[in-house]
């Protein structure tokens, strides 16, 4: 029984090989069951081989050619398009860039402030608390109303740069 199993495994795996090991051949000659197994295997392999290659449909090559050409045109269009990419920086450079950007924003902010006209419009709708000693104390009123009054109160000319006042307003806002 064991030799039959061994024989059938050899026959099954070597079904397309021209020669089998001598021991297997000897077993096949003396065992009708394994001989039948070998014939079935040979017939199965022959039936598979008879299927052969199929032919691709007639228009196969033309269709592939068209699809490849279309694909190429799309790639060229994509390659020709201007694409803006975010520069990718290493971590250390990114920190430096972020710090430089922050400094630039602060400097620009100060510069813009210094160039602003001498009206209170710059503070927009922000509500500014009046200094306690100004008028009434503790009331809240629009900055556009307070700023000219404060300049008068502090004896500043209207031409004075606003950034001198900035710290003051921030202080009273706190």
């Amino acid at each position: 029984m064991k030799s039959c199993q061994r024989c059938q495994y050899e026959v099954g795996t070597r079904a397309r090989e021209a020669e089998l090991p001598a021991a297997v051949e000897a077993h096949l000659a003396s065992c009708p069951e394994c001989a039948q197994f070998a014939r079935d295997c040979a017939a199965t392999v022959a039936a598979l081989a008879a299927l052969g290659d199929l032919q691709a449909p007639q228009d196969f090559r033309v269709t592939v050619r068209e699809r490849v050409r279309r694909d190429c045109q799309v790639s060229k269009r994509l390659a020709g398009r201007e694409v803006w990419h975010m520069p990718v920086l290493p971590a250390r450079q990114a920190y430096v860039a972020a710090a430089a950007l922050a400094v630039l924003i602060v400097v620009l902010g100060i510069a813009i402030h210094s160039l602003m006209p001498a009206t209170g419009m710059a503070l927009g709708p922000a509500m500014v608390q009046q200094p306690a000693g100004a008028a009434g104390g503790g009331h809240t009123m629009p900055a556009s109303f307070v700023q000219p009054m404060l300049r008068q109160h502090q004896g500043m000319s209207s031409a004075s740069p606003w950034h001198h006042d900035a710290g003051y307003y921030v202080a009273i806002n706190d």
Binding site: Y9, G12, T13, A15, R16, D40, C41, A43, T44, V45, A47, L48, A49, A50, L51, G52, D53, L54, Q55, A56, P57, F60, R61, T63, V64, R65, R67, V68, R69, D71, C72
Partner: protein, 205 residues
Amino acid sequence: MTTRVELSPSQVQRLVERARSGDTLAFDELVSLYMDKIYSYVARMVGDPSEAEDIAQETFVKAFRNIKSFRGASSFQTWLYRIASNLTIDAVRRRKRRENTISLDAPVEGGDAGQITRELEDVTLAGPSGRLETAELQRHVHRAIQELSPKLRAVVVLYELQGLSYEEIAEILRCPLGTVKSRLFNARMELKEKLRDILAESDGG
């Protein structure tokens, strides 16, 4: 069947190099060289000729799109078969999902129309045979292959029908040589059982 001119490995390599640099004519030559093999493989794997045509075409389009990534570690043919294999496995999986929702045994609308279509497909896939009884046998063999699991089917088609070596199949399917051999053995045993009666009949008649 059209006779294709066999090219030497170095001639194929030259065509691949030209295709890599964007030469679509060279790629067209490669399509002509391998289209029957790839179509055959896919058709035997999926069973349906029109689905096979789509997958085989997609194999070549994908190959052209990715040809720059082909480094020549394996042969161009092996690389093509690998692309076809991946696309085929995806298609088989998709179909399996579909079959889980729609039973194949459900009656086809329009009477026997579905059955006739299936028969026609079988005839188309039975190969270039002149004799009717041979065509009948080939339909049975084709159906028996379809009943194998995709893993066994791939090995048996590549080895028995396409004539590839164990080594090439191992590269295509990315599995050890021993696995290829044991799958081939199991596939042969299953097919032997499925075809026993029809083969005995054709042998006796």
